[in-house]
Symmetry: D2
Subunit: 384 residues, 4 copies
C-alpha cells in the first residue's frame, strides 16, 4: 500500500491510478461508450409466481408490466420502464447487467469497443426486452452478459406517491456486484470502459480482494468481488433511510420468511452505507442499501481497506457469514447457457480473515488487548 | 403449552397464572412492598477511568455526581439522582439491583417480607449510596442483592435539553436481566413479590427457559434467564428510536471499539423491542433497547414462545452468539463478596436450539422446505 | 408561580398539590374507581363511508368489526376489542370518552361516585357497544359523557404483524383532550377522580390555561384545555417514531388531502412529544403523537409553562393556528343530544399570546433582542 | 403549459427545452466551463464570533481552519478544504458562489466565456481564499459573484467519524438559491452555462416564478427564485435522514434560539426533499435538506408545478411565511460593494397565491369542497 495515507478512521486514501495486473485485457483503440448508470438487471427465475411474490408482495417493487413469462419492475423514483426483469426460465441465472448510455450513438461505440476485443456482440433495434429500444448485448471479456441502451419508454416517477410507499420502500436501483477470479484484471478492464475506482480491499502484498467502481457519482455502479466466476454476487436497491431497511427485516419476520435474510442489517466499512442482504426464492442475492457518499469529483480519494481490518465489511465488526463469500448466481451467455466458472487462484478473503489460518483485527496490532471474554469463539470474525 | 392460543405471528397467548414449580420458595405471609420500577444498578468496576469513559464518553450518560471511587449517572429523562452507579472495586460484579417503591412505608414491608424468608436484610436511614435516603438491601432467596428505596434527591430532568443529546442518547433505565438456575422457581417467587409475567420461553414439555416480568407497564422490569446463577445477565437502557441504537454502533466503529458489540442490533421476538448488546470494559453486559409495548392491564395476555422458534430471540432469525448464553456478571452478597454459583440442571437453551443435537425452525415443521443454499452452515441458528 | 423552580429549559417544576379553585365540585365521600387508562372513544360521524376511509384507508387503523352503522377500530398494539368506534349519526359529536378500570368492582365504585355527585348514571350489563361487557356511562359534572368498563373481548395484538404496518402505523391510543371553561375547577375534580397532574400552562397571576393529567404513567390520559365547553378538543394515537408521523403527512399530500393537516408536525414543549394534528371529515381533531416520558413515580415533578413562553406549545416556536384554539367537537348527553356550551370567562390563551394585545417570548425579556427580520409578521406567535 | 403531461401527483412533466425569454443574454461562442458541482459559499458576516457559534456550535459544521477574520468550514462527507467561508466584514452579504470545475483548463474556459459576455473577470493563481489554488471570480450578467476553481487542498473526509457526528450532522453542501427579477432570462442563461433544468413553477400564462437546475445529478446545484435581485436566497446543506433535521429544531429550542427557525420543517413539493429554513445571526438563510432524487439522465423529465398548487412549496400544504418570499441577502461585486437591486416586474408568487387577490388549491377546482372549518383564516396558504 505504497503512497497511501492512513486516515483517522483506520483505512487508507490515495489518488486513483490504473490498477496493475500481470494479465491485462488489451485496451481497445475504440473509445468506450459513455455509460450513465447501472439501470436494470434481467434475472432468470425458476418459479415466476414465487419470485413475483418476493419482489412485489414482500419488497413492494412497482409492476410496470407483466405477462405469463415476464415481470417488469421498477423502484419508486424511477422514470424508465424497469430496473428489474424477472423472466421464467429453466436455470436461475442472470441474463443481463444492463447499463444506460448517454446517447444513441454510444451504442455504436459499444459495438466497436467489444468487437475489437473479440467479444460476441448482438444488437437489436427493438430491444431484448419490452420497454427498451435499440440495444446492444455482449459477453464481455470477463464472461458477463452486459446490455447497453439509450432508448427507453418513460413511465411515471412515483416518488411523490406516498400512498404507494410501504415501510421498506425501494427507491432506486443502486448497483451490481460481480464475482470474478482475478479482481485486478477485471478492475483494470473496467477502468478502460470508463469506470472510476472508489474503494478497494487489499492485503499488504497488494493482492486485490474486491474493488468498487462507478459511473454515476455514488460509490459504485458495480463492484468486482474475488471468487470463482463469472457470477453475479448481488443486485442492490436503495431506500431513503435506515429504518426502511429494518422494516423489511421486520416484515420478513412477520411473514415467517426470516430465512431470506442472509447477512445484516449492518453498516458497511466500504462505502459507509447501511446494508442488508437477502436471498430470493432462487437464491439470487439482493442487497438493500442506503447512504453512501458523493464521489463525482475527478480527484475523489480512493479508499483502501486492509483485508485484515475487521471493520472493512461491517463497520460494527459483525461477522460475514460464509455463504456470503461462497454463493453467487450463474450468468448466461447470449444463447442463454450458463457460463462455465474459472476458479480464483489468488488468496481468498474468507480464508485469510477467518478460520484457523486467518486473522482480523479491530485495532491494529491489538490481538493481545482483546478482552478475555472475547478471545473465544463469540464472533465469526475471529474464528469460524 | 395447554390452554394457550397460537397467534398468527407464531407464538402463543394465555392468561397469566401462578408459575408451577416443584421446589417453591414459600410465599411470605407479610405483604410484598409496592415496587414502582427498576430504578438503578450499582456496578463494581475494576478500572473506574475505563468504565467512566465507556458510560460517559461513549454512551453519553449524564454525570450527576462523581468522586475518585464512584460515578453516579443518569439518563436524559430521569429526575431521580441516578440510574447507574459505578463503584471502583477489586472484582467486577453487581452490588445492587435497585427498585424504587411507592411510599416510605414500603421499606418496612420489604424488611418484613424478606425477614420472614430468612434472608439477610440491612437498612440504612442515610442510604447505601449518595443521592438516596432510607434504604433496604437484602440478599434475596435466589441469591441476588436487591435494594429498595423511596427517598431520593431530585435532579433536573434533561429531557428537553436537546443541546446535550448525542445521536445515541439513552433516555431511561428500562430493565434488569438475571441469570438463575431454576427459572420456574425464581419467577414464581417474583410473582409473590408482586411482579406480573408478560412473556416466557418454553418447550413442549413445559420447561421454562426464560421469563419476563414487570411492575411498570412495559414488558419488564426484570427477567429471569436460565443458567448458572445467581448472575446478572444485563442492564438495559432505552433510546427514543431505532436509529439511536444504530448510532451507538457507528460510534463504536469510529472509536475502533466495535468489539464492545456482542450481539445485534436486531429485533427481539420476545418484547418486540429493537435491541443491541454491548460489553463494558469489565465485561458487564449492557442492552440498548427501544419500543416494546404497554402491558398495564391486569389481563394483559402472556406471550409464550416455543424454544425452537428461531425468531423468539431475534425476529429476523439472526443467530445468538454463544457468549450471550454463557457469560454473565457475578453478584455480591451484602459484605461485598461474590455469590457462589449454582449450576442449571434443566435443559439449556443454547443446547436445545443450536449445535448437533438442537434444532430451530423458522416456520413450524419446515425443515424440508429450507432452500438448498441455506441448509449448510450459514446461520448459527441452525448449526453452530 | 410560587414554590416553583425554574429549570435550565425555561419552564418550572414543583411538587403536585391539589389545584386551587374558587368554585370546586364537591369531593365525593365514595371512593373513585381505579382507572387504568383511556381506552376508547366513540365518535358520531355524519358520513360513515368518508370517516371509514379516513381512519382505515388513510390512517390504517385495524378494523376489528363493522356493520352498516358502526365501525370498531384498534391500533397495532392493542389487545382489547377497540380504541375507536365510528357510529353513524345526524350530528358530529363525541358519544363517549371510555376508560378501562382495574376490576369489575370498580364499576360499582363509578356508579356510587357519580351518583353521589348527582350525575346521570347508566349501567348496562351487556355494554353500550359491541366487544365490551358490563359498562357504566355517566354525564360527569363537567358535562362530558364518560364510559367505564372492565369486561372486554380480547382480540389479537398485531404488534408483530409488520406485514400489516403502513409507514404511518398507529400503535396505541394515547390520550383524550377536553375543552372546558374553567380549567382549575375541572382539573381539581379530575384529581378527586384519581388523576395526577403532570404539566400545566399558567400566567403570572396563576390563571390556568390548560392542564395535563394521567392514570397510566405517561404525560396524560386526558387534558383540560380552556375554552367554551364541554367539547372534545382531540383524541390522540401514538406511533413508534417521528418518521411515522411525517409519513402520514406525505401520504395526505399524495392523496391531495393535505388540508386535513391543521397544525404541525412539530415538537411540543408540554409533554416533549412529537405531534401532528389532523381534522377528520367531520372536523373531529385527531392528534398523532410520539415520545413523551415516564411519569409513574408519585413525586413526579409537575412541569409548569408560562403562557407567554413561545415554546410551550411548539418547542420550535412555530405558531399555533387559530382554529386549533377555537374549534372543537360537541359532546353528547346520554340521550344523544349535544350538550350546551358554557363560555370561558377566564383569560383566553390565544388572546394573551398572539394578536394586538398579546405577547410571547422566545427568551425571557428579549423582545428588544429579536432580529430585525423577525420583528414583522413572519410568525403568528408574535402577531396574528 | 403546452406539451406537458399531468401526472397522478398533480404536477406536470415534459422534456427539457431551452427556456423562452424575450430578453435573452447572448449565448457566448466560447464553450462553457465544465462545472462539477456547487462547492462552497463565501459569506460576509458582521459578527464573526456569533456566526461561528451558529455554524460550529449549533450546526456542528467542522472547522478546517480559522483565524481572527475568517473561518473555513466543511461538512462531514467533504474531502475538499471547505464548503463555507465566514469572513468578517462591515455588511452582511455573499462574496462568492463557488463552483468546482472538472479540470484546470476549465478556468481558461470560464475566463473566455465571461469575458465574451463583457463581465468583469479576475483570476488569481493562489486563489481568493485559503485552501484553494488557481481561481476565477466573475460578476456574471445577472449580477452574481461566482467563483470557479479546480485546485484545492484535500482534507480528511470525516464520513466515518461517527464519534464527531451530532444528532443534526450536515453531510454535504447541496445547493445555492438565487433571487433574480427575471427568472426566464436567468434560467436561459444558466442553460448556456451548461445547467440542466429539473423543475419549475409556472402559471397558466407561462410566467416563470422559479426554476431549479443542476450539474451534479440531484435536483439542483442552484435555483432561480423570482424577486428583486441579485440577492442570495439561501445556501443548503444536506443531512442523511429526516430525524437529523428535526434534531436541529429540537436543539434550537433547547438553546432558546427557536426564532432562528423561519420555515418548516416540511416536505417540499418541488424536489420532494424534506426541508428546514433557518436564519443565521446576520439573517442569511440556510436550508437543511434531505432526500431529493437522481436526475442524471439526459432525458430526465422536467417537473412543472402550477403556481396555484398549494402543495408545490410544501407538500403538506403548510403556509410559506412572507419573510421567506421577501427577505434575501445582498451580494457583492468584485470590489466588495453590494450590488444594487433590480425590481421584479413579473407577477409575484406570494401575491398570486395568498392574500386578498391570490388563490391556491389543494385539489384542482376544489374551492367549494373545502370543509367549512377550513374556509376561514386557518392557513396562511389561503389567506394571509
Amino acid at each position: 500500500m505504497t503512497d497511501k495515507t492512513r486516515t483517522s478512521s483506520g483505512f487508507f486514501v490515495s489518488a486513483e491510478a490504473p490498477i496493475h495486473t500481470d494479465n491485462p485485457i488489451p485496451t481497445p483503440s475504440a473509445p468506450a461508450p459513455d455509460i450513465l448508470r447501472c439501470a436494470s438487471m434481467e434475472l432468470v427465475v425458476t418459479d415466476l409466481a414465487a419470485s413475483r411474490q418476493f419482489y412485489v408482495d414482500v419488497l413492494d417493487l412497482q409492476v410496470t408490466q407483466e405477462d405469463e413469462t415476464t415481470v417488469y419492475l421498477r423502484t419508486m423514483e424511477e422514470f424508465i420502464h424497469h430496473n428489474l426483469v424477472l423472466r421464467k426460465g429453466p436455470v436461475a441465472a442472470v441474463a443481463a447487467f444492463s447499463y444506460r448510455v448517454r446517447t444513441p450513438e454510444d451504442l455504436d461505440k459499444a459495438v466497436a469497443f467489444y468487437t475489437e476485443l473479440g467479444c460476441r456482440v448482438e444488437r437489436r433495434a427493438d430491444g431484448f426486452t419490452d420497454g427498451i429500444g435499440d440495444s446492444v448485448r455482449v459477453t464481455d471479456p470477463l464472461g458477463f452478459p452486459l446490455e447497453f441502451f439509450y432508448e427507453v419508454e418513460h413511465v411515471e416517477r412515483l416518488a411523490w406517491r406516498y400512498d404507494l410507499y410501504s415501510p421498506g420502500a425501494l427507491v432506486r436501483l443502486d448497483h451490481f456486484n460481480q464475482v470474478t477470479p482475478d479482481v485486478a484484471r477485471a478492475t483494470r478492464f473496467m477502468q478502460d470502459l470508463g469506470f472510476r475506482v472508489t474503494e478497494d480491499i487489499q492485503d499488504e502484498a497488494g493482492t486485490l480482494y474486491a474493488a468498487w467502481m462507478r459511473r454515476k457519482p455514488t460509490v459504485h455502479d458495480t463492484a468486482m468481488t474475488g471468487g470463482d466466476g463469472p457470477r453475479m454476487h448481488h443486485v442492490a436497491f436503495a431506500t431513503h433511510e435506515k429504518h426502511n431497511i429494518l422494516a423489511i427485516c421486520d416484515k420478513l419476520g412477520a411473514l415467517r420468511r426470516s430465512d431470506a435474510i442472509e447477512r445484516g442489517p449492518g453498516r458497511h466499512g466500504v462505502s459507509n452505507a447501511f446494508y442488508l442482504y437477502l436471498r430470493d426464492p432462487d437464491g439470487h442475492r439482493v442487497e438493500i442499501y442506503t447512504q453512501d457518499y458523493y464521489t463525482g469529483d475527478p480527484d475523489n480519494p480512493v479508499v483502501t481497506w486492509d483485508v485484515h481490518d475487521n471493520q472493512r465489511r461491517d463497520w460494527w465488526g459483525n461477522p460475514v457469514v460464509p455463504s456470503w463469500y461462497t454463493d453467487a448466481s450463474l450468468v448466461l451467455d447470449l444463447d442463454g447457457n450458463p457460463q462455465p466458472l474459472v476458479a480464483r487462484s489468488d488468496d481468498n478473503e474468507m480464508a485469510v480473515t477467518i478460520g484457523a489460518d486467518g486473522f482480523s483485527y479491530t485495532r491494529p496490532a491489538d490481538e493481545d488487548e482483546m478482552p478475555a471474554w472475547k478471545q473465544g469463539e463469540y464472533k465469526l470474525g475471529h474464528q469460524l
